[in-house]
């Protein structure tokens, strides 16, 4: 706030000297996000231009880096105290980390104190809260589904699986028919984290799982629920029984997706925002495709209706010199008109109320959003919901499981040790 007063004082002084217009023109907001792909920039570039045209006194300096490098880039910027005024954040722990350490601006009053709150379903705001205060607004909502090739399913007489047992049986049928049933690229092991996150949500009671992820469980109980080991066992089983393609640890997710889209694999676990990657003229597009949420596991103690997914969104730097302008910019990006354009151009699914319509989104995307609405809640991405260090242990462990060089019990033991250390560390701060 001191900055604001200073700016105000400066403005007043310059105005009194008669240079008001020159000073008015220059508020520059830095804006960093993780969608540098041409199809996404095709939305962001015109949106920024439109905002600048409507607000001649504000300039936006936009920068974008891809998903993986973004995780490093934002930390480097924070470390060198060059935090962008407006920046992308995943919801869950990734964003909470910024809130906890005083890096993100508390925007509770700006959202809840105005009609801005009506733009979003409460469920999409929830993952951006830390200690009941809001630190981010969602731009899209994403979830994970098992996609399948309709042609291959029909040729082999397979119905959409209703139970987890059906799903494993389908894998076997397809394997016997000569397919590598599921395309899976785990060179960057966030891909495994989506499977493990979903299995955790199915096998571990919700309140236990959330307390473990947030490290608020009692130290004696932290990550001790047997569901975690069971989840890793189920993941390992998918590999050992030949559901995944060969060499998943050496394939990137996009190469695996290429194989699925080319019609070589019958199934792939994909995100709603990736639906646009399947063009109608690809072999998969021609064969027809559908999707289903991974079915619940018989006897699992988790919440059966949960879906793995999360909103993505934007935060404002806690030390920005222009909080009002930054809020104005975010309000603009999350206005229904902009959100409709966002959906239409990027093919993503916006979390802004009423932005996804049959006019701007595919049939499958609308169905996907309906499935999110029907879910009892979202289990956030594991690698952005657990603390970073425990996640690294689990992710490396997922690669060891695929190679058969480590056991679920040993991996969970290491996760627990790491989580205990982080928990202790946090207690010290």
């Amino acid at each position: 706030m001191r900055h604001l007063n200073l700016t105000g004082l400066l403005l007043a002084t310059t105005a009194s000297f008669g240079f008001a217009t020159a000073a008015m023109a220059e508020v520059t907001l830095s804006f960093l996000h993780k969608w540098p792909e041409p199809e996404n920039m095709a939305y962001f570039e015109p949106a920024v231009a439109e905002f600048e045209a409507a607000n001649p006194d504000i300039k936006i300096k936009m920068e974008a880096v891809a998903d993986e490098p973004y995780k490093d880039k934002i930390r480097v910027l924070m470390g060198s105290n060059e935090v962008p005024d407006v920046f992308f954040s995943w919801s869950g722990e990734f964003g909470k980390n910024f809130a906890r350490n005083g890096r993100a601006l508390d925007i509770t009053d700006a959202v809840y104190g105005s009609d801005w709150k009506d733009s979003f379903p409460e469920a999409a705001l929830q993952p951006f809260k830390y200690q009941d205060r809001l630190y981010g607004v969602p731009i899209n909502v994403d979830a994970k589904f098992m996609l399948y090739n309709k042609q291959i399913f029909a040729d082999n007489g397979i119905e959409v699986p209703q139970t987890y047992g059906d799903f494993l049986a389908a894998c076997q049928t397809l394997k016997e028919a000569g397919f590598e049933p599921i395309a899976f690229g785990n060179q960057y092991p966030w891909a495994a984290s989506h499977y493990i996150g979903e299995l955790n949500a199915k096998l571990v009671p919700n309140e236990v799982r959330l307390a473990d992820y947030e490290l608020t469980s009692e130290p004696d109980a932290l990550y001790t629920h047997p569901g975690y080991v069971k989840a890793l066992e189920e993941f390992k089983k998918l590999n050992d029984e030949g559901c995944f393609n060969r060499g998943s640890n050496a394939l990137t997710h996009s190469i695996a997706r290429g194989s699925f889209v080319a019609g070589r694999n019958p199934m792939m676990y994909m995100e709603l925002v990736e639906f646009t990657e399947i063009a109608p003229d690809t072999p998969l597009g021609q064969a027809g495709w559908g999707f289903f949420p991974l079915p619940p596991i018989e006897g699992g103690e988790g919440e059966a209706g949960l879906l793995t997914g999360a909103p993505d969104g934007f935060m404002i730097s806690a030390v920005t010199e222009h909080p009002e302008e930054a809020i104005k910019f975010l309000k603009f990006l999350t206005s229904p008109e902009q959100a409709q354009k966002y959906v239409e151009i990027t093919g993503m699914t916006s979390s802004v109320n009423g932005s996804v319509t049959p006019d701007n989104a595919s049939e499958q995307a609308i169905e996907g959003l309906k499935a999110i609405d029907a879910a009892t809640g979202l289990a956030l991405w594991l690698d952005t919901d657990m603390d970073a260090r425990s996640t690294e242990v689990l992710l490396a462990g997922s690669q060891a499981l695929l190679n058969g060089t480590d056991t679920p019990e040993a991996i969970m033991e290491r996760v627990r040790e790491t989580a205990l250390a982080v928990q202790k560390e946090r207690g010290n701060n």
């Binding site: 995780k71 490093d72 930390r75 480097v76 924070m78 470390g79 060198s80 980390n97 910024f98 350490n101 005083g102 890096r103 785990n186 060179q187 960057y188 092991p189 060969r246 060499g247 998943s248 640890n249 050496a250 394939l251 190469i255 970073a388 260090r389 690294e392 490396a396 462990g397 690669q399 060891a400 695929l402 190679n403 060089t405 480590d406 560390e425 010290n428 701060n429």
Partner: protein, 293 residues
């Protein structure tokens, strides 16, 4: 008198600007890094806490650190074999005129070319070559009936590090060959002539003239190779990011992951300090060996 004083201080005046830059950009950050390694802090957090040598204790207890160090040593040893030993032999063969000038230039250029490619390009290229099923190596193995040798080269813990190291040799051995060729060509030709008149064959010439003649260059190139092996980061990060299951982690990637993924910057600074002392030790050995000449 005045001119004499000026002459005395002139060298220092000339040295001053570069010394200032060195202190500001090399020595001061290195010292600062050592101070950082005594704190528990992260780039996201705004506070930090003095923890003494806790980061080092944690480091030496961490199996991933030891695996990284072993990988770096393996990197150094294999690099010495290829980039110093093989490179020297190949350079001697090329200089000795076993091939005609056309073939010699062709080989030299072919060996040298990989070194002008950016590391990221080389990494992605070889990632495709190593790819299971669709990669070139796997296809050749299947086509020649050697599928029993097929591996998921970058996906198995046993093969990943050696696969990455070999790419590095592919890229840099040619570069070293050219450096050795220059050194060999600087050896006076009459020495060879004298030995030839004594009836020495090419192998004897290599051991008695070429090797002693390039001793100095060999030492420097070996040291540079070892430095490179301990500082390696880019090719590993591009090809495997240290995976699977940290099997191809080197000190550089371990440091990077600690700082920018795990948010333990104090620990990362401790890794950096260890890398600093390892390379410093190698440097001191080099200076000692050179002094003996």
């Amino acid at each position: 008198m005045k001119a004499q004083t000026l002459r005395r201080i002139a060298p220092y005046l000339f040295l001053f600007p570069s010394l200032l830059l060195l202190v500001a950009f090399v020595y001061a950050p290195a010292v600062e890094n050592m101070v950082y390694s005594l704190f528990s802090w992260s780039s996201v957090r705004t506070d930090s806490r003095f923890v003494g040598f806790d980061n080092y204790r944690e480091l030496f207890a961490n199996p991933i650190f030891w695996r990284s160090l072993v990988n770096n040593v393996l990197y150094a040893v294999i690099s010495i074999v290829f980039q110093v030993f093989f490179a020297l032999v190949l350079a001697a063969v090329l200089v000795a005129g076993v091939f005609g000038p056309l073939l010699r230039n062709l080989f030299r250029t072919a060996f040298f070319l990989p070194s002008i490619l950016p590391v990221t390009v080389v990494g992605l290229l070889w990632q495709l070559i190593y790819q299971p099923t669709i990669g070139l190596i796997d296809q050749v193995l299947w086509a020649t009936g050697l599928q029993g040798l097929s591996h998921v080269w970058l996906g198995e813990e046993a093969t990943v590090m050696i696969s990455v190291i070999l790419v590095s040799q592919w890229q840099w051995t040619g570069y070293m060959i050219v450096l050795f060729m220059v050194a060999i060509q600087a050896i006076p030709n009459d020495l060879y002539e004298a030995l030839r008149m004594e009836g020495a064959n090419r192998i004897q010439q290599f051991f008695h003239i070429t090797m002693p003649g390039v001793r100095e260059s060999t030492l420097i190139l070996a040291i540079i190779t070892i430095f490179g092996a301990f500082k390696v980061f880019d090719i590993v990060w591009v090809m495997t990011a240290g995976g699977p299951n940290n099997a191809s982690e080197v000190l550089g990637t371990h440091m990077y992951r600690s700082a920018f993924r795990n948010d333990v910057s104090g620990y990362a600074a401790a890794v950096a300090t260890v890398i600093f002392f390892i390379t410093l030790a190698v440097g001191i050995i080099q200076i000692r060996l050179q002094r003996q000449d």
